[in-house]
Subunit: 251 residues, 2 copies
């Protein structure tokens, strides 16, 4: 491969107009658990289309950043979340490219799943970014059941549903649920996360038996504030849980 003429030429082989181009956005499905309920961060749209409707936070992918980098940047810009102090799990979900999904123009969106660590009792504060009239937390299962707030703008209801599905599925065979908790957590906290995401109760005793081998015991104890024995504090170690936990069959 020593044809340096061709090497020089190929850099000019593409010119604008030779190929179709699209606007690329990174949309965010941001999850956090509070009071045993899974919540998603949503913004209320301040402009058309879908003015006044709830939508996923997101924004354009810059010319010199990857979609993942844009997702991280948008997370702080659009929701005001401080990434420096907060451990954050971020992974790509899927890409939505239906030609008519945005009535203004061709917009392709790379959706991302974001998990925020909380202690289960308070949600991180979110604030609206540009173009948004407000930002807040909404219960996910209620939203998807057609309850509070109704359907989201664009195809964001579908994206939210697929984000939940991805998280619920991944929790069967990984310890990713721990990313919704502080570095150290109790088994009850972890079980609460599972119940919040799966929207189903789990037997505490069996959960302990199945989960313990995949966690690391710090030796420390949580102070028992509600009465009862103090729970051991764990950290997540393994990436994969084998055999997988089985989610209760939902009818």
């Amino acid at each position: 491969m020593n044809d340096s003429n061709a090497e020089r030429d190929y850099l000019e082989s593409y010119r604008p107009g030779d190929y179709p181009s699209v606007a690329l956005t990174a949309d965010l499905v941001v999850f956090a658990v509070n009071g045993g309920v899974l919540h998603a961060a949503l913004v209320r749209r301040g402009s058309h289309p879908f003015r006044g409707r709830l939508a996923l936070p997101g924004g354009f992918v810059g010319p010199r950043e990857s979609a993942e980098a844009a997702a991280g940047r948008e997370l702080s810009e659009e929701t005001g979340l401080d990434l420096g102090t907060l451990p954050v799990h971020l992974e790509q979900l899927a890409t939505y490219s239906d030609p008519g999904r945005d009535p203004r123009m061709r917009v392709v969106s790379v959706a991302h799943l974001v998990l925020l660590a909380t202690d289960g009792a308070t949600l991180p504060a979110v604030s609206a970014g540009t173009d948004a009239a407000g930002a807040d937390w909404y219960p996910v299962h209620d939203m998807l059941a057609g309850g509070a707030g109704g359907s989201l703008a664009f195809d964001h209801s579908q994206i939210l549903a697929e984000g939940l599905q991805r998280l619920a599925g991944k929790m069967e065979y990984t310890t990713v649920a721990a990313r919704l908790l502080p570095e150290e957590f109790t088994l009850t906290q972890l079980r609460t996360v599972y119940e919040a995401v799966w929207n189903a109760p789990l037997a505490a005793g069996n959960f302990t038996r199945k989960m313990t081998p995949h966690l690391e015991d710090t030796g420390r104890k949580a102070r028992a504030s509600t009465g009862g024995a103090p729970a051991a504090l764990f950290t997540a170690t393994d990436r994969y849980v084998h055999p997988p936990l089985s989610r209760p069959r939902q009818e």
Copy 2:
């Protein structure tokens, strides 16, 4: 929402130059099984960059089609595969958007997983499309082990590896493996697919016991061409296999 002035205005609220744009391609990880070995369809690049190297088939997403539609179109254009006669499974894999992944310009690629049905003894014919010097089938596990052909162009080795990972994982809890076989197949054929993808032998008796409840018996029998009892012909019914099959732990 009855402010029709704003309704009229928003269609012009975006102009070229207001937002970054990217070229969008659909790349294909095309799998088929032959002789108990998982193969991928690859093209040899006819032009720079990576001239002469193997790459995934793919091409630009048109201005009026979704990435999935483009993937289906490229499948026939770039590999010459006739989609009319062939049952094809196509699903989105992931999107690759690293700014430097194509040295010519900003190209974001939506990768797709394609499963072609074969009888296990012959691979569908593939032919090169535009810009390709040739197209052929290559054994996947050998390629990824660094064997035949070396690494692929661009980040295509990574995409191929993640495509394999997706397929192998999905085969644990769905009957998607049947999409690599004709409409009707024997349990031995299906087991061969599992062994080809997982690159590990499976006990025939136990495989039958675990898989049969998720398949439908047609009542017909395959003719025994190699000696031995004629195997029953099944069709795939269930989408989910519960509890999941456990893949042999690989060391």
